[in-house]
């Protein structure tokens, strides 16, 4: 049941990155990278530390502006992208270091993920009456579905700062899901987790992909996780693309073995 289906491999392209380069002063973070993400797939991005993985995610959701190259998302090619516009356009993400409102409950944190979908203005929200109330009830229902989906019912009212790391990661995923994204970017969703937490998280990633049909791009260091979860793997090293293909292809690739997995004997 866990193995990714091969049907999505033939699917249509949701996002494509063409010849993107990004540098900070003299440091070249990304050098001429091209790849695509197909609708409905789980796409892993791997590579040693400093390979440019997070930078690439930041380029996708407009946090960084690449000096060269083009990005096409849902058929729309653009040179400049702003994070706000990316979020509106259906790209949600989680961060390498959990970025939640620590003083707020898990429920409230996930509710913030709905803020882009709220139509009533600030004053209406304050009044909590009529259409604003109806709207809030609807959003709350969506959020409760996500809470149920991620099995975090027990911590609904708990301040996020008091939660263990693994659960914080799950809340963060919940907030990203609350945006009902077309493309979900996960930056090391399993970093710092123990085996059991990793297995839980892997299951949630698969379930999100399966249940909501969300396309997922994830950065991950755990090779086992990457090979099990993803349909296709992009390998970066020193900002360059060194391989791109199915987990099996990548595993067998000489460049990858040498650069990343270590030379096999």
């Amino acid at each position: 049941m866990r193995a990714p289906s091969s049907e999505v491999l033939a699917g249509q392209v949701l996002l494509s990155v063409e010849n993107v380069s990004l540098s900070f002063g003299g440091v070249k973070a990304i050098r001429d990278v091209s790849f695509d993400i197909r609708k409905g797939e789980i796409r892993a991005i791997i590579g040693p530390n400093g390979a440019g993985k997070t930078s690439l995610l930041n380029v996708i959701n407009g946090f960084y502006q690449p000096q060269e190259g083009r990005i096409t998302f849902r058929g729309e090619t653009r040179e400049k992208m702003r994070p706000y516009a990316a979020a509106r356009g259906g790209i949600a993400r989680t961060f390498q270091n959990v970025a939640l409102f620590k003083g707020m409950s898990a429920l409230d944190n996930i509710m913030t993920g709905r803020s882009l979908k709220m139509n009533r203005g600030f004053v209406w929200q304050l009044l909590r009456h009529g259409p604003a109330l109806a709207e809030e009830v609807e959003h709350r229902r969506r959020v409760e579905e996500i809470i149920d989906f991620l099995e975090i019912n027990a911590i609904r009212r708990v301040q996020v700062g008091r939660l263990p790391y693994g659960l914080q990661k799950r809340v963060e995923l919940g907030r990203a899901l609350a945006m009902e994204p077309d493309l979900l970017l996960l930056d090391e969703p399993m970093a710092g987790m123990n085996l059991e937490e990793k297995e839980d998280m892997s299951r949630f990633v698969l379930d999100v992909n399966n249940h909501y049909g969300t396309t997922i791009a994830l950065i991950e260091h755990d090779m086992g996780v990457v090979m099990d979860l993803s349909n296709r793997v992009l390998v970066l090293d020193y900002g360059r693309k060194i391989a791109d293909g199915t987990p099996d292809e990548v595993k067998a690739d000489r460049n990858v073995i040498d650069a990343y997995l270590g030379v096999a004997h």
Binding site: M1, S5, R141, E144, E145, I147, D148, F149, E151, N153, A154, R156, D207, N210, H211
Partner: protein, 657 residues
Amino acid sequence: MADGTAEADTFPKLLIRNAQVRGLRPAIRHKDFGIWQTWTWAQVLDEVLAFSVGLDELGLRRGDKFAVIGANRPRLYWAMCAGQALGAVPVPVYADSVADEMAYVLDHAEATLAVVEDQEQFDKVLAVSERLPKLLQVFYDEPRGLRDYDHARLKSIDEVQRIGRQALAADAGRRARWQQSVAQGKGSDLSVMLYTSGTTGRAKGVMLTYDNVLISAQNGNTYDRLGESEEVIAYLPLAWIGDHIFSYAQSYVAGYCVNCPETGETVVEDRREIGTTYAFAPPRVYENLLTTTMVRMEDASAIKRRMFHYFIGVARRWGEKILNGEKVPLHARLLYGLGDFLVYAPLKNRFGLSRIRVSYTAGEAIGPEIFSFFRALGINLKQLYGQTEASVYIAAQPDGESFPDTVGKPNQDVEIRIAENGEVLFRSPGVFVGYYKDPEKTAETKTPDGWVHTGDAGFIDPKTGHLKIIDRAKDVGRLIDGTLFAPKYIENKLKFFPNIREAVAFGDKRDFVTAMINIDIVAVGSWAERNNVVYGSYQELAANPRVYEMIERHIEEVNRALVEEGVMAGAQIKRFLVLHKELDADDGELTRTMKVRRGLIGERYAPLIKALYEGATEAAIATEVTFEDGRKGTISARLKIRDVKVAPVAAALEKAA
């Protein structure tokens, strides 16, 4: 009320009666998406009717067995009633069983279909489906994750109900035919089959009739004056007779409302929101409540902490007397009243026990400290002694007669007898029909004139007239020098320390007594935090020398207590070790109801026991562990073994004299 069971002698008949008599009263609630959803008796009848007709259309027949696997959810309870309406027999299975155990039960029971909660349970059934040729269909409650599965033999309960509703709509006589099928059922029919975990060997299928279950439930309701306005939380395994009686049978008989928690982890919170009036829990639950309270009080501000300890002191002194209606001086009453306002009421509210009328503990001995703590707060906590073979009720403590070390007086219509070897025997309307497909075991347990061997050694306490249970009859042994050795008795004493979660004592046909200890990670973890003890894992904490010292002190205390009690003075613990892993039901070390499987532990940890008796100070052990999905791994460790001071017997006797 009293004649309720006379006319309505099966679950479906009771459901129809309840829908008529109290159709608008709540029958069951389930917290879903953060909100309590309620179904009235009339609505439940509607749901069960559709479900039942759907099952009929899909081929469930009179006499068929069907498995019910999952947590406490309304639709799983409805599944039982829906099947029973057709004359089929539900077989609830422990939701945390590993696939292999599940395969055994489903195969042995010859289940033709299974109603499961979710993907997790279905995966287990699927994993062993090759061994279950009789199992034709599976229905599930929670669709999540099951979308891509092959639906040839798999349907959602929604789908089953839709088929039922269609059949009802298409044929005006369908409902009447269903009612005829319900009317065909009678009290002496087989109602349910429950597999007892048993501390030895394979699970046995206990067959109970409607009369067994429903007369026992009626008697229980009368005993505690339970009516339609009770609120209970259903959170214990469906496959356990306790839940079957408290959350199903008694509710159908009395018409009270059963509340299904959101998840297993939210029970405490959910209980608080509901405010149960009638509760039932193994000692473990009360222990956990107390342990978490104490741990959290340690972190509270100094004023709060002092207030808490002062008023708990007041409660311990006067609370039980007030609860029992004894005479208490006025100042004590006032002080208790103030304590109630400041401490007890908020605490009870936290526990979700503000409205509690009757609260039972059963299954294991409860620590006297824990028992009196809850009673001191004004919670009517009582002990009960029961078995699957008895449809629960054997003995229970009447109101106002609660003692921490007895299990009470025989329940209504129950006779108790003590055999010559000390074993407790009983006879009651709840006595089971027999073990499914096992006449040999049935004959061993049940005499031709209806007496059942409980397998427990006990005696009637002359002071109170209550039954006291010492240990499993077969576990009571002797040391080589002839001293009486009742392992559970010693283990219970150890387990009453919050730091000790589980203990296993050895000594039968040995020179002296030794013990293996499991620390309680919550209590010891909190202690470690407060004392700057750094640890990375359970194993590391368990091996910490300061933890060993702490456990050693506890054992010395137990030894002193044993000496004071005389009979067991020779059975003091001489050596012990702290285990590197928690004993776990998944590894077969505990039963599903969390009782220690002594024999298996003895085999599995043989090198440790050898070291305990050979005087070694260290021992190496590698144990295989089983994860819930059936995969296996190995944990290995070197454990230290320590000697404990034994309290001098003569000195204590002198002091006593």
